[in-house]
Symmetry: C2
Subunit: 249 residues, 2 copies
DNA sequence: CGGGAGGTTGAAATCACTCAATTAGAGTGG
DNA sequence: CCACTCTAATTGAGTGATTTCAACCTCCCG
């Protein structure tokens, strides 16, 4: 397997925007420092002022917040190719905690490098901006789920989203992906208790929609999963919308 | 009262970033077309490809999504000074519906005007980018609320947020603001039924935290309201954090 | 003063939570 | 290769927050 590199970020940006050869080259020249993070390790805290932008090259991570009573809400799952702390580039601080799920590889690219890239190739700034806008769209979709969808549809929706996002960076095996989350993790992302996640997953399995075993998620019946989730992938703004996707543009 | 103008947008951008005199001038020169929108009117639909950026100068609006079973989820409240459809600048389409609450005044600024402003004054692009990042932070905070806070704290949190945001653009009267929402609106924003909103508001009123009558919200006891809401205003990234705010930087 | 939207109330139903115990699995050391 | 251990998954029973349904009230506005 090739060493994960900046190419993954390029692939990610390319899946939603359109990169000119020049921009692709400029992006490819970005220099960063590799960073390893162990599994289940916090590597960013709300209030931190990172001086580098961190790209996830390999592994799995999430953003989360802790509430006073000890509750946890996961607000985003990061897959390879994602930029973990882009907000800090313009807001100085990040306002969420970051935690790895499995051992992960990051690439730390100094803010100055990014900013001078933007100066020389203003179009690349737009690509990064798009990323933050798409993240916001994903947040809105999660809000819709937590506010108005019940457990089954909410869980199904998350699975659809992750599968499409993984496809976009070439990390899906058809409709199967690596998913190293525990049921407690899923609960904290979906706004459900771990117990209820367990029962919900059994329903999804029983309905023949998914196969979910330790570390691997497979959509057995993609179309029916999308339907159960009320999933419309347009909010992800991918160029090529995955096969069997609900309504296309 | 002065005619609402682009100054409101400048005030908004200034409350979170730092505008140089030059930038302030350049922003002030932005030309736009005034648009009026009646109360309770949809003026933007998911899939639209607006060619202008719309700034809310006066009134109140929200972003929302409709679900198949007829449910509605409001994902954002827009107050004067807000940009309503900035995502379209880089994603081409917007992926949410927009609706006014009361009769509102918009300013439509062509995308080209914005983009050439960015070209001449790259720093202004960062200010707009900040806006989208702050919106994303607000979405995350709503997710935290819907996932892990119960009705009382969730409602209190929304009120705190709106008061601080209104303060930032100079539209709050101490801790009182105009809030023309119905309980059904609040329910669809909070992920609650209108009936439960009603009961929750009675609790908040009974506890002496707020006064909420048709059209006007007043925080009677700001500190206790923040406490009940577990409200930490840092996610709003305002320069001057409101009086009595929980933990400051 | 009539109409209508929005607010309020009560009762029953439901979805999801908590608590607590049990089972399954993966990794470790003997 | 088998105990041992720890974490995660599973199950059952009881509880609780919130929903739904349906009725009634209130206030604003024409």
């Amino acid at each position: 397997m090739a060493t994960p590199s900046i190419d993954l970020l390029i692939r990610r940006l390319d899946s939603t925007g359109s990169l000119s050869a020049v921009e692709r080259m400029a992006l490819g020249c970005l220099e960063g420092t590799p960073v390893s993070v162990n599994a289940r390790t916090d590597f960013g805290r709300a209030g931190d002022r990172p001086r580098c932008v961190h790209v996830l090259l390999e592994g799995f991570a999430y953003r989360y917040a802790l509430l006073p009573e000890g509750k946890r809400q996961i607000t985003f799952f990061h897959i390879p190719g994602d930029i973990l702390d882009l907000p800090a580039l313009f807001l100085t601080t990040i306002d969420y905690d970051l935690c790895s799920v499995v051992r992960s590889q990051l690439l730390a690219i100094p803010h100055e490098a990014i900013l001078s890239l933007f100066q020389e190739h203003p179009q690349t700034a737009h690509l990064f901006w798009r990323e933050t806008l798409i993240h916001a769209a994903i947040f809105r979709e999660w809000m819709i789920g937590m506010g108005r969808r019940q457990a089954l549809a909410r869980a199904a929706h998350l699975f659809c989203e992750l599968i499409v996002r993984m496809q976009a960076v070439g990390l899906a095996d058809d409709h199967a992906i690596a998913l190293p989350l525990t049921q407690a993790d899923l609960g904290d992302a979906l706004g459900l208790s771990a117990v209820h996640v367990n029962r919900t997953l059994q329903e999804l399995r029983g309905a023949g929609l998914i196969k979910l075993t330790r570390g691997r998620l497979e959509a057995i019946d993609w179309d029916r999963l999308c339907e159960a989730a009320d999933f419309d992938p347009r909010y992800l703004h991918e160029h090529q919308i995955g096969p069997g996707a609900a309504r296309s543009l």
